[in-house]
């Protein structure tokens, strides 16, 4: 019995709550019907609402308390056990955290041994550090980082005891809450009880919770990056990050970590991408919305939009293996190349990534511009035609000026896409950080550096890893600013014609 009450496992408790809640459903339903003398027309709500009300009232508070307890208890136990370990017990080159993880593992190992019956509960409490516990546990699949010292054993025993006490009260309390809730909800269940309103209130709370997840995500993004960025600026001067001139991470320390070369690469590649995407996308949109017949429009528009649905990894591979070698054939390889010049040595370059990213952005620009051009009122065109303008004159002098704010918004959205794009530049742009005007050279971008600083074994205490968070935050602020500006422009423009 004692073992069942102090168990750390959550499943039995959840099963108990579920059983009580389900029982509550049927009991409450029956009780409500009984109070209405079996005629559901006398009830305030449909019978099932009484059931749902009971189900909700039993499960929600009990699960809530359980969840909070699960989060809080380990923290409390941990902090009080940490105080028990004297500084002298921490060996040279180790830390309290490492000792604590040993304490936890030892405690869990002992608990596992007790629960499988290898050792009785009393024997486990009476163990002394003189027994070779490390080897004994290793035989049972529990690996410890160091030999068990008396302090660690003592801490582990205290840890076990506190956890057991905590689990005991948790199990009692949660079960009690569920039971009391069940009794209360059954007591208030009668034919006049407004069960539906209560249930609908609960559902509405759930809906609000789901909707606020969006805010939570944004807060999570900002906070998670902000904290690490502050850590980074504690280790590395912010002046070097924002105003330094070179990017040379060095995992032995003393690195140059300046965002400027990365920002230059990012903006240069995005600029080339927009140089490709904006004219093509814009002219495609103009043709589709002003000239094309319904048949051409119905085939060409979805076909162009396929380009937007292709995963970016495909474009990345296309840049690395097709466009890059093609450009090298044209601009590189000396006399063997098409132009007979030797300007380009490797397949990765600003031009490679920019061209391919431009292709990716074509449908983005064209769809958005298409919508905006279509939103220009027909009366403007008719007026222009009435004055004798040709169609192209109408488009150039009436439609485009009227749609210009929206088109600018679309281009800004495309630019924010280009700045945040990762896979194309990881595969196509190269890894050398430099500020140069030559589009045939390899350069690197913010997103590429985030990937390379955070993949592999990273040490979250070194500025070389933490810089990725500062880069991420900069990227987030940059794209957010562009998006907000673009949405503001588009929205303002839309209102103009409504």
């Amino acid at each position: 019995m004692g073992q069942i009450l102090t168990t750390g496992a959550v499943l039995p408790l959840v099963v108990l709550i579920a059983a009580l809640a389900l029982g509550g459903y049927f009991l409450a339903r029956k009780r409500a019907l009984a109070s209405a003398k079996g005629d559901s027309r006398n009830l305030h709500s449909l019978p099932s609402y009484y059931g749902y009300n009971a189900l909700m009232s039993v499960a929600v508070p009990a699960l809530l308390v359980l969840g909070i307890w699960l989060l809080v208890q380990p923290m409390l136990v941990q902090s009080s056990v940490v105080d028990m370990i004297p500084a002298s017990a921490v060996p040279e080159g180790s830390s309290v955290n490492l000792i604590m993880s040993d304490v936890r593992r030892l405690a869990d190992g002992l608990d596992a041994a007790v629960s499988t019956g290898v050792i009785s509960a009393d024997d486990a409490t009476g163990l002394s550090a003189a027994d070779d516990l490390r080897a004994w546990l290793a035989e049972r699949g529990v690996a410890l980082g160091a030999d068990v010292s008396p302090e660690v054993l003592e801490a582990a025993q205290a840890y076990r005891e506190m956890t057991a006490t905590g689990n005991f009260w948790r199990n009692i309390l949660v079960a009690l809450i569920a039971l009391v809730a069940l009794m209360l909800v059954l007591r208030e269940t009668n034919k006049d009880f407004r069960a539906r309103n209560r249930v609908e209130g609960g559902i509405k709370a759930l809906l609000i919770l789901a909707a606020s997840l969006a805010i939570l995500t944004t807060v999570g993004i900002v906070l998670s990056m902000l904290f690490e960025t502050i850590n980074f600026f504690n280790l590395h001067p912010w002046t070097d990050f924002f105003f330094g001139s070179s990017w040379a991470p060095n995992f032995r320390g003393d690195s140059d970590l300046s965002i400027l070369p990365l920002l230059w690469g990012t903006l240069y590649i995005s600029f080339i991408a927009l140089l490709v995407a904006v004219p093509i996308g814009l002219f495609a949109a103009i043709y589709l919305s002003e000239y094309a017949g319904p048949k051409v429009r119905a085939t060409a528009k979805p076909l162009l939009e396929i380009l937007a649905g292709i995963p970016t990894i495909v474009y990345g591979l296309f840049a690395l293996l097709t466009v890059g070698p093609f450009l090298v054939n044209v601009f590189g390889r000396g006399d063997a190349g098409l132009l007979g010049v030797d300007w380009m040595s490797g397949a990765t370059s600003v031009l490679t990534a920019g061209l391919v990213m431009g292709i990716m952005l074509i449908p983005f620009v064209s769809s958005l511009s298409d919508d905006i051009i279509n939103a220009v009122p027909q009366s403007l065109r008719d007026g222009s035609f009435g004055l004798g303008a040709t169609q192209s004159e109408t488009i150039r002098q009436v439609v485009i000026p009227a749609a210009l704010p929206g088109i600018v918004g679309a281009v800004l959205l495309a630019a924010s896409r280009a700045i945040g794009e990762t896979m194309i530049v990881v595969l196509g742009a190269g890894a050398i950080a430099r500020i140069s005007g030559n589009p045939l050279e390899a350069m690197t971008t913010i997103t590429t550096r985030i990937v390379s600083q955070l993949t592999g074994d990273s040490d979250f205490a070194s500025p070389e890893t933490l810089v990725a968070f500062a880069l991420g935050l900069t990227l987030f602020v940059l794209t957010l600013g562009l998006n907000v500006l673009a949405l503001y422009i588009v929205r303002k423009y839309r209102e103009q014609y409504e």
Partner: protein, 451 residues
């Protein structure tokens, strides 16, 4: 404005000019019209041409991955090599490592050229060099599974190594291997002879679709299957979390939310989240799920959670659109016969909006399936998951890769044989994306109502 014609400008006298004969100015204007239209056509053509080039490149470079070169050999499973005691004790047979199986392969080649009458100056070991490095392991696994075969000759189909495979596919030629340590011209002569003999052939390779990734030295054995399972596990998480949360959030925002500043903040937030670069979600996942919550690195569960957060805005936006398209008369009618607001939404509006919601969800899932960048940050790349997981829980928690991450991994390995597999992987990925989008379109066609 400047567009107003200047009356002093030298216009041709309109009187006396014929409508049928164009004057110079009209011709210029018409030519400009034609040019402008041409620009549009050229723009669309360039766009479509790019699409065609992309698809052509993918298909022409990727289809090779679905075929692989096999060599059929009869291997003498010598008892004195594999089971010295002769008692068929499985423990004893297991003691023979893959290294101990190589002599059998050499012997098999010697038999082969003898029976086929092929002339070759190559040593048996060099002949066995045309096989994949996987061959000995394959042989060992088969013997351990069927120990009764020891002592007899058994027919086997082995993968050849990637150079021989490339030779059959035209990727490798006698000129290109001049500096290649892995294959020699004599070995290619042997391959030619074996092709003539019919023992080497290229055929469909199911292992590429179902198999696991292989190490750098064995591109011929690498497959997409385990990464595919990783992707499915992530999609499961996304579906289970993003659909209910997305629908609940949209219902609140579209049907219940009062018009106030909190609602405004939520709405602006959602439209901004939709445009946040995907890599930022990767950073979030790394910081929150892995560093803070200590969920296992590289687990599809974490990938699924990150992709859920990324897909939510897409699902919310499309769900709201389809809720909005249900006419208010439906709600009014429900309210009129005494339903509560909640009942009118859940019993009438939601079922009517369901096809649109489903379509939006499928498109959101397709987007998540092709996403790579956030997966790189949470470590779903750079290792080899050799076995498919055994249960759903293990599939969610044990390290795995995902299809796009696997493609990235192959693209990084800088070996033409892996490039071919990367393109082949893209074909598989695109097949999934196209079928998902096709299902979405079909659903929309079949169930969409116009009010």
């Amino acid at each position: 404005m400047s567009d107003i014609p200047n009356p002093a400008a030298p216009f041709a006298d309109p009187r006396g000019a014929s409508l049928l004969k164009q004057d110079g100015r009209t011709k210029r204007r018409n030519a400009a019209e034609g040019r402008f239209k041409l620009y549009g056509i050229v723009a669309i053509t360039i766009g479509l041409l790019m699409l065609l080039t992309l698809l052509f490149t993918i298909i022409s470079r990727g289809t090779g991955a679905f075929q692989q070169t096999y060599v059929t050999l009869s291997v003498p499973l010598l008892e004195d090599k594999l089971d010295k005691n002769g008692n068929r004790n499985l423990e004893d047979i297991k003691k023979v490592s893959t290294f101990g199986y190589s002599p059998l392969l050499n012997a098999a080649f010697e038999n082969k050229i003898e029976t086929a009458g092929i002339d070759s100056d190559l040593k048996a070991k060099a002949m066995a060099g045309i096989l994949s490095k996987d061959a000995a392991a394959q042989l060992r696994d088969h013997v351990l599974a069927n120990p009764e075969l020891i002592g007899s000759d058994a027919e086997f189909e082995f993968l050849t190594n990637s150079r021989v495979d490339g030779y059959l596919k035209g990727r490798v030629s006698r000129d290109s291997i001049a500096n290649d340590k892995n294959i020699s011209a004599e070995q290619l002569d042997l391959v030619d002879a074996l092709i003539a003999d019919g023992s080497i052939e290229k055929r469909f390779n199911l292992d590429f679709i179902t198999g696991a990734d292989a190490s750098d030295a064995r591109p011929e054995a690498a497959g997409m299957g385990v990464a595919m399972i990783g992707s499915f596990a992530m999609m499961l998480v996304v579906l289970v979390l993003a659909l209910p949360i997305g629908v609940a959030a949209s219902i609140y925002l579209e049907e219940f939310a009062p018009k106030n500043w909190i609602t405004d903040i939520i709405e602006v937030n959602i439209s901004n989240l939709a445009a946040v670069p995907s890599i930022v979600f990767g950073i979030l996942g790394l910081a929150v799920f892995i560093n803070y919550m200590h969920l296992p690195n590289s687990a599809p569960l974490v990938g699924g959670l990150v992709l859920t957060l990324m897909t939510l805005p897409t699902i919310i936006i499309s769900t709201r659109a389809s809720l909005k398209s249900v006419p208010p008369s439906i709600r009014d009618a429900a309210l009129g016969v005494g339903a509560s607001k909640m009942q009118s939404v859940f019993h009438h509006v939601l079922p009517l909006a369901a096809p649109g919601i489903l379509t939006g969800t499928i498109i959101g899932l397709a987007q998540a399936l092709g996403e790579t960048a956030p997966l790189l940050l949470i470590g779903m790349v750079g290792f080899i998951a050799s076995n498919p997981p055994e249960s759903i829980a293990e599939g969610l928690m044990s390290p795995n890769s995902a299809m796009p991450a696997q493609i990235y991994e192959w693209a990084k390995r800088a070996d033409p044989a892996f490039y071919e597999r990367a393109w082949g992987g893209i074909i598989i990925l695109l097949v999934f994306l196209i079928s998902m989008n096709a299902i979405a379109v079909l659903l929309r066609r079949r169930f969409e109502r116009r009010w």
